[in-house]
């Protein structure tokens, strides 16, 4: 008995098209993969976040697969609960079950995380290169990754420059969100380090007018795939949300406090 499941034209890429000349209509293998949602998803789910963001532009069909809730869930089962995010300072390793509280040592920042995307234990380390602050008040950071598989360190990504007018770069929170670890900074932009090992800055909303010279933040954390920033400026409480997949969109709610 023959396979009875497949009735369409034969699998075969362009190189054996001649042997299929008797087929009424030739469907290439690539077309078949492209038309098979399960198979396409099997491939897409293995792509890094940055590639997926770009491949949303391939077609509306691809976009629908990539933003599909089930797909997002499969790819990143529980991005808000990275249980093994650690850092150590010069004094020794600090283990934080609840992600990172805060760290403002500029000299050496080491961060270890269990990378949920690659399901292997990796260590992220940030160290300013050279002095704490170089001329022009710019700090150079380099990240290194420790592999528990090889037992060795390797440089990760390009060295990163942070404008630091106030000599006060901080690494508050350390929240895993949207494929990146996000740190909150009370001055200037905030930082993130994504699954593709890229360090970047996230612009923050301006501090409200008044006698506020720095952000009065109370909470920076993830809930239901949104990144939340809660700030209190005197009588005004600001709730800021970053939407899933939208790195730059801030929504502000100001709730006047009853006095």
């Amino acid at each position: 008995m023959q396979f009875g499941l497949i009735q369409d034209a034969s699998i075969g890429s362009k190189h054996n098209i001649t042997s299929l000349s008797s087929m009424p209509e030739y469907t290439s293998s690539a077309d078949k993969v492209a038309a098979n949602n399960d198979l396409l998803t099997e491939i897409l789910i293995r792509l890094p976040a940055r590639s997926l963001m770009r491949f949303k532009s391939v077609s509306k069909h691809w976009l629908s697969l990539i933003i599909d809730q089930f797909f997002v869930l499969c790819r990143n089962p529980d991005s808000s609960t990275v249980s093994g995010l650690y850092y150590c300072t010069r004094l020794g390793p600090v283990l934080s079950q609840n992600l990172i509280s805060s760290l403002s040592s500029m000299r050496e920042i080491q961060l270890m995380t269990l990378d949920p995307d690659h399901l292997t234990t990796r260590l992220f380390v940030f160290r300013p290169l050279g002095l704490m602050c170089l001329p022009f008040k710019v700090c150079y950071y380099r990240s290194e990754i420790y592999s528990t598989e090889t037992g060795s360190w390797r440089a990760s990504g390009e060295p990163f420059t942070i404008e630091n007018d106030n000599n006060n770069m901080q690494f508050h929170a350390g929240v895993y969100w949207n494929g990146a670890i996000n740190w909150f900074n009370t001055w200037g932009d905030s930082l993130y380090f994504d699954v593709d090992e890229r360090l970047g800055t996230m612009p923050m909303l301006p501090v409200p007018e008044g006698n506020w010279y720095k952000r009065e933040f109370r909470h920076y954390g993830v809930s239901r795939s949104h990144l939340h920033l809660v700030e209190i400026y005197g009588p005004v409480t600001c709730f800021n949300f970053l939407q899933d997949g939208e790195r730059l969109l801030w929504v502000v709610c100001e709730i006047p406090r009853r006095s």
């Binding site: 699998i11 690539a30 098979n36 963001m53 997949g245």
Partner: protein, 166 residues
């Protein structure tokens, strides 16, 4: 006792059943041990339900691809192969151009061989991850159904992912 190998072979023949897989694309035939072929859930179902004759015609897979599939099944049917050996062997099997990989992933899907499906999907993902989306469109023969305005809007949402790409 010079003819022992022949005798032994005959003696153990009932234990070692073979199946013949025949590519219906180019009529190439492959004789494989049954336990090797049974890694394909599709073939296993056929054998289990007595639907398989001596020659199993495989209608949609070329001989070239079928050979790769059988190589994979042989490797993974070998109980003494270490995990490292298998990893290396798998890497060798999928060290192919993207179009061969696409044929292979379809074959793995059709024959229902989970491990091969996974390792081939991963290789395809690795091969396309650094390509511009226009190239990916071409490889998969996807028609761009965005209007220029829609495409620009989708792209603008993730500008950061397009750095260094056309």
């Amino acid at each position: 006792m010079a003819s022992a190998p022949e005798n032994e072979k005959n003696a153990s023949a009932p234990e070692k059943k073979t199946l013949t897989l025949k590519s219906m694309i180019n009529n190439e035939e492959f004789v494989v041990d049954e336990h090797v072929a049974l890694q394909s859930v599709t073939i296993k179902n056929m054998v289990d339900s007595d639907c398989a004759g001596d020659v199993i015609p495989v209608p949609t897979i070329s001989g070239e691809i079928l050979a790769l599939v059988i190589e994979y099944c042989k490797n993974h049917a070998n109980p003494s192969a270490s995990e490292d050996d298998l990893k290396k062997a798998d890497a060798g099997i999928v060290a192919k151009d993207i179009y061969t990989l696409i044929d292979l992933v379809l074959a793995a899907n059709f024959l229902d061989i989970k491990g091969l499906l996974e390792v081939t999907s991963q290789k395809i993902a690795d091969s396309i991850k650094d390509l511009p989306h226009q190239d990916v469109r071409e490889i998969f023969g996807v028609e761009n159904d965005y209007t220029p305005e829609e495409e620009a809007a989708v792209r603008a949402e993730h500008d950061w992912a397009f750095e260094g790409f056309p």
